[in-house]
Structure formats: C-alpha cells, structure tokens
Symmetry: D3
Subunit: 139 residues, 6 copies
C-alpha cells in the first residue's frame, strides 16, 4: 500500500454565521469571520489516495486523472465562488474549514473508488497557520 | 541607505466589475473574478522602507512600530472585509491588485515619512502565482 | 473525528550540552550545537487537536481560542528566550527538539482536554530540514 | 516513541516508458513524462525515523548521522543523475515517484535499523503539487 | 508605472558541457551538471511586466492573457523537455540558468510589447538556493 | 549584465542592547530582543552578484564557487554562533539585521570582486516576516 497526494487550489469568499442569530450575536461568536459582506481565502487542498502499484505502469494511478477528477468534482464548483451561496453541495452547511473538508471528501470518495483506488485523506488549508484533516467517518 | 521589509497578511473578499456593465459583460471581461457573489484571497503585503541606520539603536526603525502602523492604517481596514464594500479608502475603486496596492501606498506614505523614514515599495501578492509591485508615482 | 492544526512560531536561543562534560566532550558529541555561547532558531510549532464538530457552530473549536491557549502556555514562555535558562518547564531538560516537543505536549495536553477536545500531536520544526513529531506516550 | 524527520534534496532526469512499447504508445499512456529525451525534477525527500529518546543525549539519534547516511545511501546515487540509466538500485524499475520512494525505503531500512532506530516513512515530492508516502510493506 | 509578475513552472532535463571537450574535461569544469546522461530541475519562472493601469479595467493587463502568452511562447516548449535537445530557441546554447533566462526574455519581449506593456524582468529559479535575474541588454 | 543569487543559511543567537544602559532601559527600547540570556534565529542570506556571461562557460560564475566563498567568509563564522560574542567582524556592532547585513557585505565585497564579478546586493531574512536589503554605500 502506498499513498499519493495531489495539491489543488481555489480562491473563494465565505462567512460564518447562523441565520437565526443577529449580526451582533454572530460577531460575538465568530468574530471577523461573520462579516456580513463576506471575506475570503486562497484555499489549498491536498487529496491523498492509497492503493497498490500497477506493476505495468509503475504508479497507483495517473496523477493527471486524479487532478482532473478533483477539478471536475470540487475545484470548478468552489474556485472564484462564494462557498455559502454558489455551491450545490454546501447548501445549508456552515462553511467552516471542517465542514468544507468533509463535504469535499463526500464529493470525492465514490468517484475515486470507481477509479480503483481508495480516498485516504483530505487536508484543507485556509491560511498558512490553519488547516484541517479528515480521514472519513471510520477514522 | 538600507531597505527593510515587513510582511503582513489579510484575508478579504472582492470582485472585479463595472456597475454600468451587465453581469454577462463583466463575466466576458473579468472571468471568474466578476462573480456577483464575490470570491476572496489570502493577501500577502510586503512594505519596504528605506533610511539611514540610527547609530545608537542599530536599526533604521523598530519593525514593531512599522508593523503597528501597517496594521492600524491598512490591515485592520482590509482583514476579514469585503474590499469593494467595507473599505473607506477603496470607495469607487476597481479592486484589482494594482489598485489595492496603490491605495495601500497612499495610506502609508505620509505616516511612514512622519516616522523619519521613507516608503520605498509595496508588494501585494494575491496568489502564489500573481503579485504587483508599486514604488510611487515618480518611479 | 476530524483533525485541526494551528501553527505558531517562536525564536529562541539554546545549546546542547551536559554540565558534567567538558566543553571539548560536549563539542565532540553535539558539534556546533554545543557552542558555549549558544545559538538559536526560528521554531515552527504545529499543534493538532481532534474532536467532533459542534453542529451548531460548524467547527471542532474556535482556532482563536486554540491559538490563545498555545500562546499563553507555550509561546510566551519560549519566544525571545533562552530555552536552557529562561523556561520553567524546561528546567534540567536537554533542549533537543525531541525534548522540547514533549515538554510542549505536556504543557498543552490537560488545558486542551479542558476545552473539550483532545491533543493529537505536536510537530516542532527546528529548521526547514529537521523536525520532530510526538503523539503522546501511548502512540 | 517519537518521530524525527530529515529533509534532503536531489536533482535528477528521468522518463516513464516501457521498452516494449512504441514512442507513440508511451506518449499515449504517460504523456509528457514519456519524452524520449528525458525531463527532470528537483526532488525533495523526507525520511522519518522513530525511536526512544536516549536519556543521556536527549535525542533519538544525531540528525547529522541520519543526514550522512541518507546522503551516502541515496543522495549521492541520485543527485545530478538519470534515474533510469545511472542508478544501480533502480535497474529495470519504472521510475515513477512511487517506485523511487519504495526503492529509497529499501536502501535505508536496514542501515537505519543498524543505527538502533526504525525507519517509519519515506515521503518523496516530485513537484510542489505531487508527492508520495510509503511506510513499508506491512503498513 | 506599476509592476506585475506572473509565476509559471516547468520541469526539464539538461546538462552543461562543451562538445569539443572530453567527458573528463566537462566533469572537471561543470561537476555533476555535466553528467552525460543528463539531470533535471523543477524550474520556477517569474515574468515581470510594467505599464500604466487601464483606468476602465483597473489593471495593467489581464494576468490570464500574460499567463497564456508565457505558456504558448515558453512553457509548452520547455516543460517535460530536454533543454539541450528539444528546444528550437536553445539550439547551440549552453543551457546554464543565465542563458535560459536570456533566451526566455528574447521569446517574450516582442509579444509582450505587442500587448501594450513592457517586459521588465525575468527571474528563473533552478533550485530553492540558486536563481538568475535578467532585465534586458540596457540594464 | 545579469544577476545571480545564492541562498545560504545560518542559525545563531544574538540580542539587541547597549552596555551603558540598564536591563530595564534595554527592555524598554528593544523589547524581547534585549533578553539578557539571548534568543536566536534561522537566518536566510541571499547574496546577489552581477557580471557578464563567460561565453565559453555560459555562466557569470560557478555558483559552487560563490557558495564556497560565502561559506568560508560568512557562514562558518556565524552558523551555530552567538553574533554578539563569537564573531570577529561583529565586534562592538549592535547585531541588528541591518548591521549584520552590512557587515556581511563588507566581508564579501572584495573577495567577490577578486573573482571577476561584482557584489550587487545582500538580503538577510531574520524571520519569514522581517528582512533587510543592502546594496552598498553608493546605492
């Protein structure tokens, strides 16, 4: 078993807030992240898959295929978008880094399995100082 | 003459658009950057000042003072904000990296001179692949 | 279960040596790291906690709270300090990256648990080429 | 148990291809990586070992010794070389990042054990966007 | 006048040698860089242009256009190639970082001027420790 | 004329203080940087030289020679040292980043000229957020 990782990037706006709370309550809880006019990030996404090496080809899978799949399922839907407003798979989701990472996992798990390898982990960096890692429900 | 640089960071939402154009016209010109629901970045700002070394203190100026000034004049106004909607000194400005860099220069030039040193340049990175440098009107 | 990581930084002096050894013996064993007049590093500290997502808030814990706790328990005691001379929790400890990482773990484990999450790992980078990871006694 | 990691770097040429395939077949499968005149990379290698801390010395092992061993067993054989043509331990190996990582593991596992510690993992970065991790046959 | 920079990357094989010298003479002069079987790098290219801001659009030029031009004129010809064998504009050129940087300048200078802006500088990084900057014949 | 840059690194302890001032006065002026027991940094040094390309060799100068010279004149004297106590060319110098950069320039200017090229600039990074650039007395 060997692990391969592909990095992709996207730039997006978002905010943290609960609709049933006032602006002041949201600000008290989420600080600047609740700004009603949004803020944004350059997100870095690391997708790790694991599998056996194909003896004829020497690799677990073609990283270009993995990159294309991540772009089709995730990046095209998130890049230059508003995570709260523009993304079908984030409807009614608090757009914390944790929840976005889990939602990305859910977008990728099945199509990666259909390529014959297994999704191992998703790492999502919101800033150079903050990141989240998710390894699925059973880990 | 010696040059010292301080890096500061801010996270913000923005979009590129002209109000007199339709959404489609803006999209045609600015691509994803025109998304009506905004997108965002982790901006990195490098502020370079130049001056003589104070012989008693060994430095041109205390970098903590420079950092405090940049935070007071720029970062607090841009961080976790919408560059198009929330910033007094970006009113009616197209929030391209170029224009934001020049506006930051204008915020900093006089207060830095009042500290006895001279603003030399502003470098603003929008992504790891794109950045802008501005050295004032006469350069 | 999801993992979140916060990076903090500190600059410190230290040296590797045993008091019962001569300067020459220390130099033979520890090389330049034994320099009697100290040397120093920009340390990068990555603290990883794991927990369940709070369904109302969308995150495991507020990263500002994690940052504040790391600063209060670790950074304020190590930053711009001499690790061998100035730090109560490193008394009589050989200030190798390994031992400093473990000591940081011990400072953080209980207060992080009191916040309702669990300390998962501590990664301490001494240089861009050398780092240590510690996951507690039972891992 | 604690984990320590040393980064080393090497620059090398390589290509992906199967000798029994035509240039066109190789290009169809491996894309630009099959270029008959080779291409190359700045590889970054992270070698992680685990062990107990030597109580007298404060560290698991001297990182200079680990660095010297990696250089003698791996870097000197790969740096400024052609991975397909110049490396004894890559004879008849498809030089994918996966296979190079495993071959590096095999070069290091025994000599690291002879130093009294255990090889935990090998991470090999081919570009800033692509990397592979290997933790041995039983992981 | 404002300066904007776009980073692009390419992976390539090369070697330093003079055909009229023996392998030993080339090795004596160029060290490992003369390896007859080639070696390679992940090159990072920074292209800086300068110009006036288009008042209607807010930027000097669309960075996507600059990126496309760099890709068409430079990256597609160098990426996953052998700089000595595969590149028309490097025929009979010693493929030092200096010479490659100048050749890239020559590919870009005229087409960038045709876009209405001026090429200011080319920075080419061969490794994280070595890079070259070129600002044209008159600078 | 073309510019080539070599990065080297050193780890050192230092403090900012004036001997004629009390500990409290030094702390008031220099903050944590005045800690009597020292602190330290991983310094990154970028040395830029300029010259004409040797038409036979394709480069301005061999970067290995530049690296060796920087190591002999600077790095061996600063690495794993105390900048205030251990360095002959920093005697009685306030070890600010500015002064250390200028002292490095003075160590390198003549020997680099003797190699037939000209020292253009010295950039010294103290942390990822703070750096200094010096281009000689006449710039």
């Amino acid at each position: 078993m060997i692990y391969i990782t592909r990095r992709e990037r996207f730039n997006a706006a978002h905010r943290l807030f609960r609709t049933e709370w006032s602006d002041q309550e949201n600000k008290d809880m989420f600080g600047g992240c609740a700004n009603p006019n949004w803020h944004g990030h350059n997100y870095e996404l690391f997708v790790t898959v694991k599998g056996k090496i194909n003896p004829q080809l020497g690799y677990v899978m073609n990283l270009k295929d993995l990159s294309s799949l991540i772009k089709a399922k995730v990046i095209e839907k998130l890049d230059h978008k508003n995570l709260n407003l523009d993304v079908d798979f984030l409807k009614d989701v608090m757009t914390s880094t944790e929840n976005v990472a889990i939602a990305i996992w859910q977008q990728l798990e099945t199509p990666i399995r259909e390529l014959g390898v297994e999704l191992h982990g998703v790492k999502l960096m919101e800033t150079e100082n903050n990141f989240v890692e998710y390894f699925g429900e059973t880990n």
